[in-house]
Amino acid sequence: MRDAFDGLDAGCPEVMELVDAYALGALDHGEAGALQRHVSDCARCREELSKSQRTAALLALSVRIEEAPSRLRDRIVARAEREGAEVPAWRRLIPSRRTSTRTLAFGGVAALVFAVFLQAQLSNLRGDKDELQDQLSVTSSELEQQRQIVAVLSASDTQKVAMEPASLRSQAESVYNWSQNNAAGFVVCRNFPNLAQGRVYQVWLVAGERAEPVATFLPQDGSCQIPMDMSRMNWRPEGITISVEPRGGNKTPTRPWFSYAWFNEAANAGGGNHEMRMGILASAIGP
């Protein structure tokens, strides 16, 4: 079976033969990767995989129930208590950590922007006003982006998932980091190939047939950092994808994906390979 996948994406017949082994967690890394690439873009095989995963998940319920030591309960509850018990009513009245962090971060950015503004005012005396105001605009935008990225990286709940390039030959790498507490995330990438004139990469958050555009970008020397504000997002994505679109972006994505990661195929259904599960365990915690 592995021969069939060398240098190629798996087709439906091959994948249908693998879904049961995948659901049991019995595929090797290469086969599992080929299957993941295929199901990311094939609803029929994804459905078949889902059924198999749900069946496999039931196997866990066949275990004979053993009694856990009572000391274990005490240990776990005590540890949970140390980590933080019920939030007292008075604490609910004060701003949350998220609000505080955002406020502080905004304050920091505002101070930096103000410093650049002062510099612009001083330079204005030398007749460089227009140029420095442009600089101010660019600087504040970059500062805001950096602020978002730092906030995500420094959050206590930061999660990340590696995105898979759809083509086995691609050297492109990308990772999606996010913090649910901060309602923000960002994609970093490298080795992204230059695109033809008039084309851009576009990031999407997806769930089933739904795909919401997040950002468009052109990599600099193959690299990118794309911050994403998800504070207004009121639905739960199942994956993140990147496609190639006309300049300005598209309302609906052009398939196949350039790269992708799915958050939650396996966590609720058992089985799957390790890497996928990692993404997904996170997922459930995803944005």
Partner: protein, 183 residues
């Protein structure tokens, strides 16, 4: 689970009382070591305490999600340790004779799990031994098809065929249960 989001320690205790033995049993079945199992149960429950929204209700029942997470975590553990224990499968008939789900501290849940366990064991019992053995080695032993072939001295093609045939039968037998999960 909603109450856990408010850091309600009482809800966390109730959750453990309801599912602690089930998680412990699932993990113990895979790691085969009581101390390791205890550490992993602690890790799994504290992870839920820290991130209660890691469970998404639309994707299936909580108990199935929890046992799947437990199984996956236990398999990761034995894989990361590279443990070469000899995983022995137990026939469904033997398992049926063993103690049923008496240690779950919730009568309704206990009855439901006992019923479900009987159904799953019955479905497993209808699968030929050589297919069932391979399914169990994969799911509970954390072995890949290649590793199973090496361990059982069987051609890889035979193992793959047995996985497919066994799972087809299991899927057919458990289809009503799977539909319950999809509700």
């Amino acid at each position: 689970m909603r109450r856990l989001g408010c850091r309600d320690l009482g809800a966390f205790r109730a959750l453990y009382d309801r599912y602690g033995n089930l998680v412990y049993s699932t993990v113990l079945r895979i790691v085969r070591d009581a101390q390791t199992a205890e550490d992993m149960v602690q890790e799994i429950f504290l992870r839920i305490w820290r991130k209660p929204d890691s469970y998404v209700a639309q994707r299936g029942r909580f108990v199935t999600w929890l046992t799947s997470v437990s199984r996956n975590r236990a398999v990761d553990e034995i894989r990361s340790r590279g443990r070469r224990f000899r995983y022995e499968t137990t026939s469904p008939e033997e398992q049926e004779r063993e103690l049923p789900t008496q240690e779950v501290d919730d009568p309704a849940l206990r009855a439901e799990l006992a019923d479900q366990r009987r159904l799953i064991l019955a479905a497993l019992a209808r699968i030929p031994l050589e297919q069932r053995q391979i399914i169990e080695l994969a799911y509970f032993g954390g072995l890949t098809q290649q590793e199973i072939a090496e361990r059982l001295c069987q051609p890889l093609g035979t193992v793959k065929t047995r996985v497919r045939l066994g799972m087809q039968k299991l899927r057919a037998a458990l289809a009503p249960e799977v539909r319950l999960e999809e509700r």
